[in-house]
Amino acid sequence: MKPPIRVLVAKPGLDGHDRGARVIARALRDAGMEVIYTGLRQTPEMIVNAALQEDVRVIGLSILSGAHNVIVPKVLELLREKEMSDVKVVVGGIIPDEDARELERQGVVKVFQPGAPLESIVNIIAACA
């Protein structure tokens, strides 16, 4: 049997609205994954370092502040710099359609917009293993 997938749930930027991040973290944990929650106000550097130290397979970023177009590319770039491109990134939050498509083009596995069912989030992250 494969070991459980390890996921880092992170809240980058200044936004403190963590309801979604906490719900997702619990849902992933209930689905048998090992979940590490960074807490609030993490810089891209802190997130990538945590991903390295915790040896996670997936990083889930929760952003509701509109700063996704600045923050997400930085995380992707740092992962490439550190040769961690095998770590998959998913994003959740208030992300307009065109931004979501652009972030997915840049390498995000999936952008989850408001109302995305927990089941589909769990399944897509599980498929990253």
Binding site: V9, G13, L14, D15, G16, H17, D18, R19, R22, V23, A25, R26, A27, R29, V35, Y37, T38, G39, L40, S65, G66, A67, N69, V70, I71, I94, P96, Q113, P114, G115, P117, L118, E119
Partner: protein, 501 residues
């Protein structure tokens, strides 16, 4: 079951006034702010011209977190969720051409509230406004930040000292200004139940009153200016009952605990906002209906002021058209529906009276539990309210997932294709404009005077004096928000939360 009594009489279950909206409607106060102080000022003038009766300032995230627009940490966030205000100059721009002696202004700001209020008072002073005539509300509710919204800078105790400083200052110099709006709104948005929203909010109110009394103020000196802010969520009767229970419980608590004599101390006045978290990204026009139902509950529950959300708020900050429709929703309720004819029309309804009693009883249980922990600060330090809310929020999400809670357009009655709505987009230009303005300000101002004021502020922060005077001196010298918050951080330290899931 308590007999409901009459509107305007203790314990005010049925309303704080005998006549309610027959004599005066609630204040229609739409929360807004975006991009730059200049653009926000233009939106305020537009809203006032459309018949809005008070202003409500939304600040951007850097401002809410005490950072200047040109701080590297602010990159990508300037003007996105509200207006940036980094200095007195920005505050002056925000209210240019708006007479602060006449328009009541609510400001949603918490951790840096004392600093922003000092800028507001200085801007009003420059307009020649008499402080005694200023009316409005500062949100300034730091406890709910630790509990729910998480916009905190300093540890709880020095933060409470700042709040108490503003309450003391307002009691002396700005008798018509509410120095705090004790908020359940964000607790509910974070996923709490109605009972938790009620309980944690009123227990926060007790905490602020305890600190003010400890400072040497008398309950009747400051309690009349404590204001509250509740959510208006989907469950129509439960929400009406929540407002009724809040009024009754607060009147009883303030008289039982503090022996207040002035009846104004006992009357819970509140602002309501419809539930942002109930709005859906899918089929956004459904949000107009949700908001109308929620607004009706707030009005039937006797709110003093109201914000109705715009249909596009699950997608972006509101467009002008969406913001206008939200205001029109209130105007239809006020002028066409007839619900303003009688105060508390549900008073005596078996169901609503029972719900009111149940909510009061559940809130009393929570309050007793938090009292047993030694008050709200120890409870927060143990993550007690935070985890209660997280549990409720997860339980609700699982119900949605299982289809036991219906969200129209999301887990039932879905459309295959969505009709797009035009949304407001805020680019990075606002950030660049703010950075340029701050650079210019920093070169024009008297740097030595700024440094001196910041030193005096640090010195005062180490002592026990009220900080409003050194804060006002610093912002008058055009010390920036970031500089002032950083000076206080030198003395108070920073707060980080234990990440628990």
């Amino acid at each position: 079951m308590l007999t409901p009594g009459q509107p305007g009489t203790f314990p005010y279950t049925r309303g704080i006034h005998e006549t309610m909206y027959q004599k005066r409607l609630w204040t229609m106060r739409q929360f807004s702010g975006f991009s730059t102080p200049e653009e926000t000022n233009a939106r305020y003038r537009y809203l006032l011209a459309q018949g809005q009766t008070g202003l409500s300032v939304a600040f951007d995230l850097p401002t809410l977190m005490g950072y200047d627009s040109d701080d590297p940490i602010s990159e990508g966030e300037v003007g996105k969720c509200g207006a940036p205000v980094s200095s007195l100059e920005d505050m002056e721009t925000l209210f240019e051409g708006i007479p602060l002696a006449e328009v009541s202004v609510s400001m949603t700001i918490n951790s840096p509230a004392a600093v922003i209020w000092a800028m507001y008072l200085a801007a009003a002073e420059k307009q020649g406004a008499d402080p005694a005539r200023l009316s409005g509300t500062l949100q300034n509710d730091i406890l709910k930040e630790y509990i729910a919204q998480k916009e905190f800078l300093y540890p709880p105790r020095p933060s409470m000292r700042l709040v108490t400083d503003t309450i003391e200052y307002a009691t002396r110099y700005t008798p018509r200004f509410n120095p705090i709006s004790i908020s359940g709104y964000h607790i509910r948005e974070a996923g709490s139940t109605a009972a938790q929203e009620l309980a944690f909010t009123l227990r926060d109110g007790i905490e602020y009153a305890d600190w003010a009394i400890e400072r040497g103020l008398h309950i009747d000196d400051f309690a009349p200016r404590l204001s509250f802010f509740f959510n208006a969520h989907n469950d129509f009767f439960e929400e009406i009952a929540k407002y009724r229970a809040a009024r009754r419980l607060w009147a009883l608590l303030v008289s039982e605990r503090y022996g207040a004599k002035d009846e104004r101390s006992l009357k819970l006045r509140f602002h309501a906002q419809t539930a942002g978290c109930s709005l859906t990204w899918q089929q956004p026009y459904n949000n107009v209906v949700r908001t109308a139902v929620q607004a009706m509950a707030a009005v039937l529950g006797g709110t003093q002021s109201l914000h109705t959300n715009s249909l596009d708020e699950a997608l972006a900050l509101p467009s002008e058209a969406a913001a206008t429709l939200a205001l029109r929703t209130q105007q239809v309720i006020a002028y066409e529906s007839g619900v303003v004819a009688v105060p508390d029309p549900f008073g005596g309804s078996h169901y609503v009276e029972q719900l009111t009693d149940e909510l009061e009883a559940k809130a009393r249980e929570y309050i007793a539990k938090i009292d047993g922990m030694g008050g709200m600060i120890p409870a927060i330090e143990q993550s007690y309210p935070q985890l209660e809310i997280a549990n409720a929020s997860y339980a609700f999400q699982k119900k949605v997932e299982a289809g036991d809670a219906v969200v129209v357009g999301v887990n039932r009655f879905r459309n295959e294709t969505e009709v797009p709505v035009a949304t407001l987009r805020i680019g990075e230009e606002a950030g660049r404009a703010q950075v340029a303005k701050l650079k210019s300000l920093r070169s024009r101002r008297n740097a030595a005077a700024v440094a001196h004021c910041l030193d005096e502020l640090r010195e005062a922060a180490r002592g026990a004096d009220n900080l409003m005077v050194p804060l006002t001196n610093a912002v008058r010298a055009y010390a920036t928000l970031g500089e002032v918050c950083s000076a206080l951080r030198d003395v108070f330290g920073a707060w980080t939360e234990r990440p628990v899931i």
